[in-house]
């Protein structure tokens, strides 16, 4: 399995939301819906507070419960990679995958009735380009690539920087990493 990962540096992210706009524009996401979003997490007790910005989206889990629980095979791993896509022609709109996602990230119900979600811009990845959100980030805090390739930027970042994934105890093996 080719494992594509997104590595996002919370130290340089300023929470501007350009990634959200880039996604909506690139993927023509229907009005009122979003495939990615920015979270501002504040921790601690005043005056010792820390703030972290996180650009969040589908985690394209290696062990994706939305894929294992889909009754029709519409929700699938693309091209033997960890990228999770939904085949609209197989989707019945039963919504099991929405319930199956512990990150509540499977969330776009397309107005036509099928499930729509972050695709890691696989149509751009195919051409060797980065996902739209990564390409448009003004602070260059987002990185994308094959995590198992020892020469890739994401591999290097994960080797050299302290990082985390969201709620690893879900067991879903998520592939969006945050540098902390």
């Amino acid at each position: 399995m080719t494992r594509y990962a997104m590595v996002i540096d919370t130290k340089t992210c300023i929470g501007c939301g350009d990634c959200v706009i880039a996604c909506k524009t690139e993927n023509m996401v229907p009005e009122g819906l979003n495939r990615d979003w920015v979270v501002e997490a504040t921790n601690g007790t005043y005056p010792n507070l820390t703030t972290e910005f996180r650009s969040e989206r589908c985690n394209h889990c290696s062990n994706a419960t939305c894929v294992t629980l889909c009754p029709t095979g519409a929700s699938h791993h693309w091209n033997d990679s960890n990228i999770v896509l939904v085949d609209a022609e197989k989707c019945t709109g039963c919504k099991a995958c929405i319930a199956a996602c512990p990150y509540d990230a499977r969330l776009v119900m397309h107005p036509e009735g099928y499930i729509d979600k972050c695709t890691f811009c696989h149509h751009r990845v195919e051409k060797g380009q980065n996902p739209a959100c990564v390409s448009s980030c003004p602070t260059r805090c987002m990185h994308f690539g094959s995590v198992d390739d020892p020469h890739s930027k994401v591999n290097h970042l994960l080797k050299t920087r302290e990082h985390k994934v969201l709620i690893p105890e879900t067991g879903n093996d998520p592939n969006v990493y945050y540098l902390i």
Binding site: N34, P71, G73, K90, T92, K95, T170
Partner: protein, 334 residues
């Protein structure tokens, strides 16, 4: 403190502010599907035990209700689908890890088995319907065959009906992402509740005194088992991880407390249990017809509460700064 704020606009339908993907349609299906399982199990058990004299309705007529009730339930389920034209996709693949896929195939297998079960008793249960089928040589031949293998058909019905009754609970419990559902007891609870609602249905419809009494006793046993399973599932949540304990709060002071304890446990389990005890012991029979009605209400309440509390239970905890209502305040420009 730990605060997670959504700072870009996110107001995705079905997810925000909390997950709410399924409404009454799915609860109704869970209720009617469970009742169908109970109907088929009791009809089969009465056939196997040769209860024609004691329980004529359950032995010879009850089975006809199975495909009717199930079809109503499946209609509700179909209404819930968002991509209705693609419903056939359930039957172009089998996904071994998806209980919903198992369920779709179980439903397809249950129909013909249910028809065989009906035909095996149709001559004694519905004479006019039988005479209609008997006019055709092939119809007569099929009914003869079903009558000859009546017991074998009944034995075949039982495992499939149990699968129908139990899979819905397993389906919900397989959602690790929804802590409230994530208990292995849920499948059994749904099966027992489905059988209890079917027993209540028999008490309501059957005319013969001996049959009403038999099914009241059966229902009492099922209610007691259901109470035990409810206690077990609460213990399972209360002794789970943080997400499970948080999920339990929704019925322990949270928004579903009243519905769970009053509608389901009180009206649906405890009161009918008391009424049935009074009736069986001969102390008070005046409210005998109330118990089965309450059992049916409780059976539906269980599905609705479990479904609602379950889909809201979550691993994430975002607050959102965005409100779609703000958009309404913008001046309209066309």
């Amino acid at each position: 403190m730990s605060e997670e704020l959504l700072v870009t606009a996110r107001d995705n339908a079905l997810i925000d502010p909390s997950l709410h993907i399924w409404t009454w349609e799915v609860a109704m299906y869970l209720f009617l599907g469970g009742m169908t399982a109970g109907i088929m199990i009791f009809a089969a058990l009465m056939t196997v035990r040769n209860k024609d004299q004691v329980a004529p309705f359950a032995t010879t007529q009850l089975a006809l209700l199975a495909p009717i009730v199930l079809s109503l339930g499946m209609t509700a389920l179909f209404l819930d689908l968002e991509h209705k034209l693609f419903v056939y996709r359930f039957y172009t693949s089998f996904q071994i890890t998806s209980p919903m896929s198992w369920g779709a195939w179980i439903l397809i297998v249950v129909y013909p088995i249910s028809i065989l079960q009906i035909l095996s008793t149709v001559r004694s249960g519905y004479a006019s319907l039988a005479s209609f089928v008997d006019r055709l040589t092939i119809g007569r031949w099929i009914i003869d065959w079903c009558e000859r293998y009546r017991t074998e058909i009944a034995f075949t019905v039982i495992p499939f009906a149990v699968a129908l009754g139990i899979y819905t609970g397993i389906l919900l419990s397989a959602f690790g992402a929804r802590p409230f559902w994530n208990s292995g007891v849920l499948g059994l609870l749904f099966l027992v509740s489905g059988m209890s609602t079917a027993a209540a249905l028999v008490v309501l419809i059957a005319r013969q005194k001996s049959e009403k009494e038999l099914f009241t006793r059966l229902d009492l046993v099922l209610i007691l088992a259901e109470i035990a399973l409810v206690v077990l599932s609460l213990i399972s949540l209360a002794s789970g991880s943080g997400q499970h304990i948080d999920a339990l709060q929704s019925v322990m002071g949270g928004p579903y407390t009243l519905a769970f304890w009053v509608l389901f446990v009180g009206i649906g389990l405890l009161i009918p249990m008391l009424l049935e005890i009074l009736e069986i012991s001969g102390i008070n029979k005046s409210l005998a017809m109330l118990a089965p009605v309450l059992v049916l209400i409780g059976g539906y309440a269980l599905r609705q509460v479990v479904m609602d509390a379950g889909q809201e239970s979550t691993w994430t905890s975002y607050s959102t700064q965005y409100s779609s209502e703000l958009l309404q305040r913008l001046p309209k420009s066309d």
